[in-house]
Amino acid sequence: MRPAEPRHGIVLEQLRKCYGPVEAVAGIDLVVTPGETVALLGPNGAGKSTTIDLLLGLATPDGGAVTVFGQPPARAVAEGRVAGMLQTGQLIDHLTVRELVALAASLYPHPRPLGEVLEVTGAAAFADQRTTKLSGGQAQRVRFALALVADAALLVLDEPTVALDVEARRDFWAAMRRVARGGTTVLFATHYLEEADAYADRIVLMAHGRILADGPATDIKARVGGRRIRATLDAVPLDELRRLPGVSGAERHGDAVALTCADSDLALRALLAAYPAARDLEVRGAGLEEAFFELVAEDDRTASGAPKATAHR
């Protein structure tokens, strides 16, 4: 039996961490309630790993505070209430997979049954092999097992599916779903929008050490996952294009216009109906990096005090 959880989940307040002149985490506020599955989404260098280090007590904040179930991270870790799967980290040698996972289990006050963990992570198939004889994907499954066996109230995973093939990735998320259903609070970092969308209740979008957006997956997806329509179209005022249904922004590049769309299907139909002369049509997903770039640019303009009205999109 797990002891009763204090009601507070994870609380980050004005959390800051600098590495030399670089502000890796630049004052973030975040509250995660127990039982939630939250994705930290952002490009490389967004500050996701540093945030995770601070949550696990691997780094100490330069400002602000972080508490995990009402305790400082180091304390929560010492009591086995938190388990982490770090982005880097290889397995120690001269042990079999089973022995290594059993060793991890022995470190926690109320571990999950070993057999169950090996089964769920798919490590049962090679449980009696030495850790040095594993493929990259197998080793990743073992690293997941090491975190899972803790049966901690909070599971923190830093880019857990990097280096996994499609099948392993699917297995991984199937296992994660089971864990989350059991009431475990899960926080994972990823730079795949699809993963964040499919598996998190909530997405926290980070860039440059700041939180740019925080909300239900569908909202964030609409914000960064939009599509772009490009068309050759002369002499139509941009303002008119912006008023088309499904269009959230318009720009002109010579003869061509580029429309940023919240709903590209709707926008495309409206565009063709209103301007049959439009040609060379092209619809593509606005890449995540591109979407981030826009959000960051928007964030910078806001931060530098430029009035929002002049920040044309």
């Binding site: 040698d93 001269h94 022995e99």
Partner: protein, 243 residues
Amino acid sequence: MTAAYLHAELRRTFRNRRFLFFSLGFPLVLFLTVAGANRSRSIEGIAFPLYYLAGMVSWGALIAVISSGSRISAERQLGWVRQLRTTPLRTRTYFASKILAGYLLALLTIAVLDLAGTGLGVRLDARQWATMTLLLLVGLVPFAVLGILLGHLLKPDSLGPAVGGTTSLLALLSGAWGPLSTGHAFVEATKALPSYWLVQSGRVAFGGSGWPPAEAWLVIGAWTLVLGRLAVLAYRRDTARVA
């Protein structure tokens, strides 16, 4: 949790054949060849095998405890130490596992060499064996700490030469490989090394120059404190480093 980690560490140590070969095999082979070839000779009035046994036992035990602690270096590079810091395992348990593994390996080395010594005609009574072993174990304390310090200061690729060089130099300066010519100020200065007293501990058994308590304890205690302090500093620097 503590017992499980210690158990796993011991299992890993004794499965590591290369490690066993160098810490145990080296002194054993050297003892058998050198002492075997000089069975009938004597040094300072002591039968050569007995004299040489004390040196080889000290050297082998020295390698065992230093290299056990220094394996932390590889586990740091793997990211295993960082992973462990996200678990309830206490740092002191982790260090204790390295020290314990080193000591057990040292005891095994001592036992195997003592057996080899018996095979070459070394005869001591139970009390002498016990005194020698006990003093050896005490004399190893600063070196167990040194191993942990080196494990934090060095990268795995420089570890082999560093540990090999350190243990060989200490063995040479402390007379484990044979007596240094006495009288020089330099030789007197080696008495400030804890390994000098480690080697002397073996000689207590056969009534050599013995182990004058005050000086020996002082040297061993001082080195333990200083190396311990340095190890703590190295550990702190390591855990504060940029991820």
